[in-house]
Amino acid sequence: MNIIVCVKEVADPEAPDDAFCLDAANKVLVASPKVLRVLNPFDEHAVEAALQIRDKTNARVTILSLGRKLDRVVAKKPLLMGADQLVLLEDDVFAGGDSWSAAYLLATAINKIGDFDLILCGRQAADSNAGQVGLGIAELLNLPSVVAARKIEILDGNARVERVIGDGYEVVEVTLPALITVSNEVGQPRYPAIKNIRIVNQIQPTIWASRDIGVDPSHIEGRLTLSALFQPVHEGTCEIVEGETLQEASEHLAVRLRSERIL
């Protein structure tokens, strides 16, 4: 079976807030140069889910990523984890856009790849926080979708999926081909393996620009317009409760909360 995993390169979401600076005029959040480029964490979980299936079924895992000037170290990480093939959609015209255009471009590339049984995506990206691209790909390719999987098993042309819901999980069976978005509960992504380095060095990524997937650049437009970007203001009025000792400070906290009628 063939699995395609869509991954996004993002600014490291673990970087501290003050490593980012808002450029309100241009409506962008600018990361300082010290912020690493990384794979979107949920997408790493999607790669892990694909490799878990591969461990049991000998599936072939293709990684698909979209962007402009993609970082090769980031893009190759899933290969070091054990994926088989890398397809990069890379073109200057792919800058900008929104969930709609990303889903459209990825779906068009998936059509060109052609042979697939399962498409996996992370449940949402750490930058846009939209959670739309996977669902959009499913819609554009007319596939059934299951959101926020914590476990995927392949059985006889179907996938049995546990999907996370608010207070537990649901078990559903979905006919393949299908699109599944993956949540962090699927398990820690495996580490890139040193032993894979030589194999990975022999894998030549496929690089497609807009013309290679037959997309007219003038058609790559989003459906949403970003009209403003701002940073929430925190009042910064935290009252640090102190005392001679830490025990005393802790007692003072109890007294303060009581006097404020919070407790």
Partner: protein, 329 residues
């Protein structure tokens, strides 16, 4: 009339109107009043009468019900197909979903089917004065920044974060009415088959309903520490929450996770213990009435959003804090 009115897609909890639906009606009512248009709701499922009449009590002018035994079990593909037909006929200006496990799936799928944009997980909605466009404010980068989106075409769609909008007030007399909407949604074998639901809710108060939440993060260091947090939570008649790190480390079940991909909570008191305060966590608790932070690191970002803080090791702070509370009675 074309492209008029504000429509919410309602959800049920045990046959009643869900809390998020009430919030959508609250937010939707303000939008509808600004536009001078009607507020409508649509429900899909089985046995919808109670929820639909509640929607009218809470402000809907019309509640459409698409009621069928075949729709009892949530089926995203079928629901999207039905909603697409319904929306093409009713043509609302604005279409709102709750950002719930259903709404976060139905909203984007429907948007792509209709070739429209949708902003997900919005925390504020308003009407742009001159253009009447829907301004959709949503957190990005885990809440580090907020983006405001607009779009040109109708319906203007959004999913709305639970607890973000003020819930609608009960009207003394309901002026709205429930209207069945009949359509033939065809047969065919479903591509997604529901097998079972496994509830993993821990005993005690649900996170979303708790007045007091004692939440632990990386600094708690293990399962044992969470037992101590549980002791404090019990003393305060509250419940325990956790950061993503604590859940992913297996210290507590993932159903206790507070944050962007976990629960969005707004208790009276949120006590964050050993939690640094990353944006993706704070976005889940920033609407708490009072946040208390206990953290060793005085530079932890949590202190920027907390109302009260103690800088120090929680293993020392908690016992002294609890003893004092008990002695205060």
């Amino acid at each position: 009339m074309m492209d008029r009115n504000v429509m919410i897609v309602g959800e049920l909890v045990e046959k009643q109107l869900s809390p998020v639906s009430r919030e959508l009606l609250g937010g939707g009512r303000r939008l509808a009043d600004t536009l001078g248009e009607a507020l409508e709701a649509v429900f899909i499922g089985e046995e919808l009468a109670i929820a639909a009449s509640e929607a009218c009590v809470f402000g809907a002018d019309t509640a459409y019900i698409i009621d069928n035994a075949k729709l009892a079990q949530y089926d995203a593909e079928l629901y999207v197909k039905i909603l697409a037909r319904f929306i093409e006929e009713k043509r609302p200006r604005i279409l709102l979903f709750g950002h719930t496990f259903q709404g976060a799936e139905l909203g984007p799928r429907l948007a792509f089917r209709l070739n429209r944009g949708i902003a997900t997980d919005c925390v504020d909605l308003s009407v742009e004065p001159d253009t009447n466009k829907l301004l959709r404010t949503k957190p990005i980068y885990g809440g580090m920044a907020m983006a405001i989106f607009t779009s040109e075409d109708f319906p203007q769609m959004a999913t709305v974060r639970p607890k973000a909008l003020p819930p609608a007030e009960r009207r003394t007399c309901s002026q709205g009415n429930s209207v069945p909407f009949n359509l033939d949604f065809g047969g065919g074998s479903p591509r997604i088959r529901f097998l079972e639901r496994v509830t993993e809710e821990v005993a005690g108060i649900k996170l979303e309903d708790a007045d007091v939440i004692v939440s632990g993060g990386r600094g708690i260091q293990g399962k044992e520490g969470f037992r101590e947090l549980d002791g404090l939570a019990k003393l305060l008649k509250g419940t325990v929450g956790a950061s993503r790190v604590a859940c992913d480390s297996g210290w507590v079940p993932s159903t206790l996770q507070v944050g962007l991909t976990g629960k969005i909570v707004a208790p009276k008191l949120y006590i964050a213990v050993g939690i640094s305060g990353a944006s993706q966590h704070m976005t889940g608790c920033s609407r708490s009435q009072c946040i208390v932070a206990i953290n060793k690191d005085p530079a932890a970002p949590i202190f920027k959003q907390a109302h009260f803080g103690v800088v120090g090791d929680w293993k020392v702070v908690l016992p002294a804090f609890m003893e004092k509370l008990k002695s205060l009675g």
